[in-house]
Amino acid sequence: MFQIRIHGRGGQGVVTAAELLSAAAFASGRYAQAFPSFGSERTGAPVVSYCRLSDAPIRLREPVMHPDAIIVQDSTLLLQVDVFAGLTPDGTVLVNSRLTRAALHLERLAPDRVVILPATQLALTHAGRPLPNAALLGGFAAQTGLLSLDSVTRAIRDRFRGGVADGNVAAATDAYHRVLSRAKEQVDA
């Protein structure tokens, strides 16, 4: 079982992110469970959602306390919330930001465990809206290798229609290839 925790702010689509992730896993034939942290969410307040992926049915209902991967939708949370709490020793981190590892004070994590992706910019470029979910999902697929770009695309098209779907698929695809090529650069270096 692979467990993911997503950090964001109310209104950024934290719950939708977990749901999309679970839908992409479902599209690839896996079992998946997505659920919010059930707070009284307010716009802008720190919020958390969870997702579990497995090849077998998932019965566990406790919150994800030891995530294998963390997705941070808003890098200002790095200063406010202990987003790395319980992260497994090999766990990966995906941060939505235009800043560098150094600027984000992420140097304590090994380079191959961290991906920084300008997901909001990709969303603005491709979909015209500052909602980073689709790009982060594409980036997550490339970073972890758990999901194919095709299953990500299917999850987005299942959720959205028309131009919104097209824009989000483009953002996810761009993010996917960026993260893949960056990983290749790291290996080559």
């Binding site: 749901e19 679970s22 997505a34 059930f38 019965r59 406790e62 306390m65």
Partner: protein, 389 residues
């Protein structure tokens, strides 16, 4: 059809396929997504002949449901927490009049202090209301129990609550085989009311009953509930024939063979509990779990049969009776009278506190070592207790 879907939406679509004719509800977290889903389906014209009635309160919702079902309409509503309490007076009318309403309770704590999160305080507070209560373990279970609930309610002319854990199930996205209309139609015949209000053939439902017959009315209601205990497993078996999967029934044993400790639980905590049982079994520890799907009527005989061999029984309660203790435990003590076993009550997950594998394992290990107190509060924060005035 297999879908990756939110629990509330899966329930809404399933209820829609049960062809309700009147839906009336008042929104309250965490039930809201269910009735929103149904209202969208009605508006989109996907429920031909169904009227969605917006009401001003839960009391009105149950009152409209009573009127609708008495007039012969298949009727559905949903609520939670304080909303269920606000219905209380009408709940007893629905059951006392033998009106087969199906209602989802998206289980949530009761305030004060105000708390929107999950426990079983709401449904447990209505355990004596004469409604059948079924508890769902997963969203698949919730969906399947709703289909069975309409059949059971209408066959026996008794109202049924399907209890599903608020947020933990209602807001969880997972894989659900959402029943098709063809499947539901093969299982659930059209509603044939036992009595029906009709201006052309007037009759009275709900006339006053004095001391000469009130006891007999209640006695008969009890007999109907006893009948339900026999019928529920039969309907579950028939469901399996049509849908190809097992759901419903009174109790669900899990790895009970040679178990030295058995944990009894209701609702979604059973998933975490079963994972805990598997891990402990892998370590050679002989534990098992017993899921209570039907809480009202209370399946005392089935429980006694399943639990008699166990030297220790732990009852995991998601609600409790302040000043006394476990609610399920009290019923279970009666059912298990005279058996030479130790029984423990563990109050867990009140107001949304997560029930974790680690905490469950610790409790089971304490029971196995005979070191568990007769009643404990799981993960009680002693420092918080001491800090409160």
């Amino acid at each position: 059809m297999l879908r990756q879907i939110e629990g509330s939406q899966a329930v809404a679509e399933t209820v829609a396929r049960c062809r309700p004719q009147v839906i009336c509800a008042y929104p309250i977290s965490p039930q809201t997504h269910i009735v929103e889903g149904l209202s969208r389906l009605v508006k989109a014209g996907e429920l031909a002949g169904c009227e969605f009635v917006n009401v001003e309160s839960e009391f009105a919702a149950m009152s409209v449901a009573i009127g609708a079902v008495a007039a012969g309409a298949r009727t559905y509503t949903a609520t939670a927490s304080q909303g269920l309490l606000f219905m209380a007076e009408a709940l007893y009318n629905a059951s006392g009049l033998g009106l087969p309403i199906v209602m989802t309770v998206a289980n949530r704590a009761i305030g004060a202090p105000i708390n929107i999160w999950n426990d079983h305080s709401d449904a447990m507070s209505q355990r004596d209301s004469g409604w059948i209560q079924l508890y769902a373990e997963s969203n698949q279970d919730a969906v399947d129990l709703h289909v069975q609930a309409f059949r059971l309610a209408e066959e026996l002319s008794v109202p049924v609550m399907v209890c599903m854990d608020g947020f933990v199930l209602t807001h969880a996205y997972e894989r659900v085989d959402v029943p098709t209309r063809q499947q539901v139609d093969a299982y659930l015949p059209p509603f044939t009311p036992r009595q029906q209000l009709d201006p052309d053939a007037p009759l009275t439902i709900g006339a006053m009953v004095g001391p000469e017959a009130f006891t007999e009315v209640r006695y008969l209601a009890h007999q109907v509930q006893r009948q339900a205990l026999r019928r529920i497993p039969e309907l579950a078996a028939e469901f399996e024939t049509v849908f190809g999967r097992s759901a419903g029934g009174n109790v669900r044993p899990y790895r009970l063979a040679d178990a030295q400790t058995v944990v009894v639980a209701l609702g979604s905590v059973l998933g975490t509990l079963k994972d805990t049982v598997d891990e402990m079994r892998d370590d050679g520890i002989r534990v098992g779990a017993l899921g209570l799907t039907t809480f009202r009527p209370f399946p005392a005989e089935a429980l006694r049969e399943a639990l008699a061999p166990a030297p220790r029984v732990v009852v995991l309660e998601r609600a409790f009776s302040v000043g006394t203790g476990g609610i399920v435990s009290a019923d279970l003590d009666t059912a298990l009278t005279g058996l030479p076993q130790r029984r423990y009550t563990v109050v867990a997950g009140l107001g949304g506190r997560p029930v974790t594998k680690a905490s469950l394992r610790a409790v089971i290990e304490a029971a196995l070592a005979d070191e568990l107190a007769p009643m404990t509060f799981l993960d009680l924060h002693q420092s918080t207790v001491e800090a409160l005035p």
